[in-house]
Amino acid sequence: MGDVVLEMRGISKYFAGVKAVEGMNLTARRGEVHAIIGENGAGKSTLVKILTGIHRPTAGTIRLRGEEVTFRSPRDSQAKGITAIHQEVSTFPELTVTENIFMGHHARWKGLLVDQKAMRGRVKQIVNELDIDIDIDAHIKDLSMAERHLVEIVKALSIEAEIVIMDEPTSALSIQEVEDLFRVIRRLKEAGKAILFISHRFEELRQIADYYTVLRDGQYVGEGSMEGADVDTIIHMMVGRKISELFPKGDATIGPVVLEARGLARVGVFHDVTFALRSGEILGFYGLVGAGRSEVVRALLGIDRKTSGEILLDGKPIVLRSPSDAIKRRIGFIPEDRHDEGVVVNLSLRANVTMVVLKSLCEGPFINRSKEKALTAEYCGKMEVKATSYEQEVKALSGGNQQKVVIAKWLALDPRVLIMDEPTKGIDVGTKAAVHAFMRELAARGVAILAISSEIPEILGMSDTVIVMREGRVAGRFAKGEADSEILIKTATGN
């Protein structure tokens, strides 16, 4: 085992009093790939943001090479030898590989002119050391996602980072590309770098990681050597809690098939996705980030184009070219990104709730204010939205209440089918329970619900049927009671 280079002890971070991580411990050593494992919302990304200087911890200490440090900014953390390779690589598409690598810290000739030769030489040297095949003069826009990842790694090396954080680097790569990446990572190990590797894929972790730390619900659960570690043990640490009494599914009578997808595909994204959604049923979609669940839904609703497949409503084929076509057929969609796609934060609660059904509130060209207010009151009341007035701007509400506004907005449509993408992501426990109660109530009233979730307890507790997706394909279907958390994870990761 190499020397300890980074040590985090008792790190906590609260956002406006809400816990993101608490009592986090982490020890990274030179020449070691350290896997950070946890479900979505376990606190991994907060951890990364603390290390890269985006967030400052509320409590706890970070020691770097034995000395206690604080990271004031991303630049500061970089200067101290930490660099992160994000899932969404942020680059300059119109510039060359070399330029991207050196942006912000160009090599200069006598302190004046940009020294292209020196920069190209340095990049070439790193590229050769890593033994990767990249045209260092190519424009980033012409590279594949995998190549862009490699560019980020070269960048990390060019600034001589000692600690390289990789946030799900393999989620966008093909098997061959993953092999290439691992080869590069092994080189980094040999060069004495400490690598923090975030991933769900146990098979990969077994191949590449030396050590692991497990997080759950923003807390440190345990750590250990990857060698001889048992996947089942890790999964158990990861999921931990029993599927609690929180999710007793009401006894909705499941009716006839309402919405059916046959052989849905979008080339290169997902393939041959077939499912049937019945009235009164909650159909859960489980899978890893990037498995293609949201993409299926987007294509289903006509936001993205599908390349083949058929959609049937009440047994009749339909064509949905845009969300407005879906709305006309009373198919509602609660998107994952509440802030960007769900609500307009600068507008009033009233304007948000009535957005989808405004047409029905109009008399001639005019909106009937009293009808509008009544409708807002009705659905905000149903959802128990806490606000001082319905004229209040939505940005003044808490995250949980904002999510309730999004749900109220779609309830107002009186949907037959409701598609929900991560309906309880990033909201507090109380609101979560309320959302679950509403899902059940809707189902009991005969609404067909398709819910995407990355939270295993939620999926298992809420769904009548679970579909697991892996790499753009349906990897398994389970009726209620057929699956437990371990089966789901194994199906989703291909173990």
């Binding site: 970089q78 119109e94 942006m103 293609g292 993409e295």
Partner: protein, 335 residues
């Protein structure tokens, strides 16, 4: 092997916007000369180039702002204000050396540009709005300064009128200025760290910040440089045409934007270079001079220019879209 790579190089060269522009310009020159053979006569052609020199300089000023994803609508009024100040200075103090007038115009222009830069970089006003505002301010000040009077040719010193006309190695000073600006700025955008950072800010504002680029500083600098060039151009303008009035260079900003978009500069920032802009300006300059030769009324010039801007923007967008869908497809594939 060697053959293949040289073939590829030729294909690459042919695909470049600059090659296309050179071809179009040559075609234009040949076509016009067929109708009016003295169009490519030495005298006429050096006139055209001298006319275009100013456009080249100011278009390069505009390039810096467009690279950042902004726009500078005030270059024309900056030229007007600088030109009237410099011309009046020449009238009241004919003894001042010409080099000092050039220096003053650079400084005054830079100051006016810096005001734009302050509004955009530090007060966070969108550049369209900020520079629309300063158009009025600078134009109004030009009028106030001149009190509505013109500074005429006979009031200016001979040396002043010679500023752009001085010959060096058989080439006029006007062209030397344009060449110097083009070379210096080409160097700046390609070989100076700060210049490269223009591309980063325009290409991806957020990522530029993460990479440690001081974004407001770059924005401020861009407007200041743009202003300095506009100031220089103002002096060249007034000494070349030997008249200064409050309407000087009115609407010049459109020509500069046109030269840029023809030269392949993208409105959304991060894309464009000096050679393209120089060729774009040359194309416009030659076209403007060719119109009277082929008996097109000069009154058509404006609509033609607008049409060219629209066409160039549409073509750029369609081209962009092709690459964009390519990227999106890639992303989709790997998501």
């Amino acid at each position: 092997m060697a053959n293949k790579s040289s073939n590829q190089r030729i294909i690459k060269l042919l695909r470049r916007r600059e090659t296309l522009l050179v071809a179009i310009i040559l075609f234009l020159v040949v076509a016009v000369s067929l109708r009016a053979p003295n169009f490519i006569g030495f005298e006429n052609f050096s006139d055209i180039l001298n006319d275009t020199g100013i456009l080249v300089i100011v278009s390069i000023a505009q390039l810096g702002i467009l690279l950042l994803g902004g726009i500078d609508m005030s270059v024309g009024s900056n030229m007007a204000l600088t030109s009237i100040v410099i011309a009046s200075l020449n009238v009241s103090r004919p003894d001042l050396p010409m080099a000092s007038l050039i220096a003053i115009s650079l400084a005054l222009g830079a100051f006016l540009g810096a005001f734009n830069g302050f509004l955009v970089a530090y007060l966070k006003i969108p550049s369209v709005i900020a520079t629309l505002g300063t158009i009025s301010i600078y134009r109004g000040m030009t009028f106030l300064y001149s009190n509505g009077y013109w500074v005429n040719s006979y009031q200016m010193s001979e040396a002043f009128k010679m500023i752009p006309r001085e010959l060096f190695l058989g080439v006029s000073a006007m062209l030397w200025y344009a060449i110097a600006v083009a070379v210096l700025f080409h160097l700046f955008y390609n070989r100076i760290k700060t210049g490269r950072e223009f591309y980063a800010v325009g290409g991806n504002l957020e990522a530029a910040g993460f990479a440690g680029v001081n974004v407001p500083r770059i924005q401020f600098l861009a407007f200041t440089l743009s202003g300095a060039l506009a100031g220089l151009a103002g002096t060249l303008y007034v000494s070349r045409y030997a008249i200064a009035q409050s309407g000087t260079a009115s609407g010049f900003e459109f020509q500069t934007v046109a030269a840029c978009v023809i030269g392949g500069v993208s409105f959304s920032g991060g894309l464009g270079n000096v050679p393209g802009v120089v060729l774009g300006a040359l194309f416009l300059g030659i076209l403007n001079n060719a119109l009277p030769v082929v008996k097109v009324s000069p009154f058509y010039q404006m609509s033609l220019q607008g049409g060219i801007i629209l066409l160039a923007v549409i073509l750029n967008t369609l081209g962009d879209r092709n690459t964009r869908t390519k990227i999106i497809k890639r992303r989709d594939f790997h998501e």
